[in-house]
Subunit: 300 residues, 2 copies
Amino acid sequence: MTEDGFKGKVAVVGLGLLGTSLAMALKSKGVEVTGWTRRKEVRDWALEQQIISMTDDRAEVVLSEADITVICLPIPEIIAFVNKFSHAWKSGAIVTDIGSVKEVIVNAGEAVLAPRGVHFVGSHPMAGTEKSGPQNAFAGLYDNAEVFVAKTEQTDAAALVQVRRLWELIGTSVVEIGIREHDNLVAHTSHISHLLALALTQAVLDCNDELQPLRYSGCATGFRDTSRIASSSPKMWREIIENNQDAVLDTMREFERRWDNLRTIIEKGDFNAFEEEFAKGKHLRDAWIDYKNRTRNCGW
Amino acid sequence: MTEDGFKGKVAVVGLGLLGTSLAMALKSKGVEVTGWTRRKEVRDWALEQQIISMTDDRAEVVLSEADITVICLPIPEIIAFVNKFSHAWKSGAIVTDIGSVKEVIVNAGEAVLAPRGVHFVGSHPMAGTEKSGPQNAFAGLYDNAEVFVAKTEQTDAAALVQVRRLWELIGTSVVEIGIREHDNLVAHTSHISHLLALALTQAVLDCNDELQPLRYSGCATGFRDTSRIASSSPKMWREIIENNQDAVLDTMREFERRWDNLRTIIEKGDFNAFEEEFAKGKHLRDAWIDYKNRTRNCGW
């Protein structure tokens, strides 16, 4: 039992950037961490590096001994894994995940695990970098991150507390939220930005050969940052948008209302109104940045 | 005369971030730099710091001795300054500027200066930071930046060469371009990004009090970077958009075609097509980043 009241053995499934960093962070807090991932060479590497204390070729062996399992896989693979290995957990065990959407994952997890007395509680840590893979992992990845822990009517209260404690133990700030509320939220705070970065990149750089050298010269730091997340993984973002289609479409329409308003103002040539809109936007963003500076310790 | 073949006395008008940094950079290359700016205390400070070698309460005194004058002011003030002080330059003098749009500025500059035998050649260095003011200036601001030098049918060939040499002397890379072509280009490579960052910020952060704490928690590094330039100066961006209205509206419509395509794909649920679009966008952006890494030496 650690100083923060968290007890039990944690199995981390999926040793990519997020899973390996999580195992490192938990181990640094004195938690016993086991692990399983598809590739044997990564399992062996993690054991050699003492990032995990135990693994096995058969996932069932690792899962059967775990008090809490954290599934750190892409969205479709989280759902497939829970379905495939639902028999492996002991009754009373807790299973959580790190997927970027919660409704499809939590519904699938509860449907298959609740009948077996296994508690599924979905999580979503707002952490990551543009890199991937265990070679880029580091124990501090989750420092000061905010983590959403998703509740449903079925959520076991004691299991929820244990999942909260796991995240809080590694220095994150936990926010409880409903699954649909979560997916609506991240459509706004994350998914829409990826679609904008993508459409911007296409509008600026998908041009004829004659224009391209000028476009390359004319793009500087503003374009670089506004478009940065268009360099993310196409497969990962396909899976996220595919599993949050309705909320993403609602958020796209919300963006379009703001965009159309700006276009109308510019068409009318009402630049006093434009300056007011810009000042309001700047005020909103500067206030959010101030909040992050006050509540985080990560150099924002 | 400097080693690069640039000769003459340069007057910098407007000692903000861009003007002061320019004076510092030119001085470090052995150029004689004089200066004028509206606030007497800044003139005195720049003289004391030996950033400029001469100033005067009357702008005319500074301008009358300059071979090249670089006007580093906001767009409307560049135009107002050229109109107010057109009598001050000697015949054969060259006047350039750093404004973010070129058509309105160059048309105004040529109209008033050409009859007096003074050569106006517009410039636009792709340099700057989110900060402003002479206290944030540094000689390296222009290092490796790309600078557009705008040509018209009236442009004096020898004056164009001198303006090129001035920018090349301080380590920038010069691209010659027509004034309307320039304004169309920067509508794509810069102006549209500011409008997207603004509309995104409004769509995400302009919400009711109940939603706000969750939105604050859910926004992380993706939103931070995509929205960064929404924290820019409302007055400066009003002036830029106001003076590039048609090209900005064209570019907004170009963005909307890309955006509508993505929305249609998501509405149809054709996520194979979505993944293909994302992969194409990522490829376009990664290729541009590779170009910047090859051609610049600034840690991109």
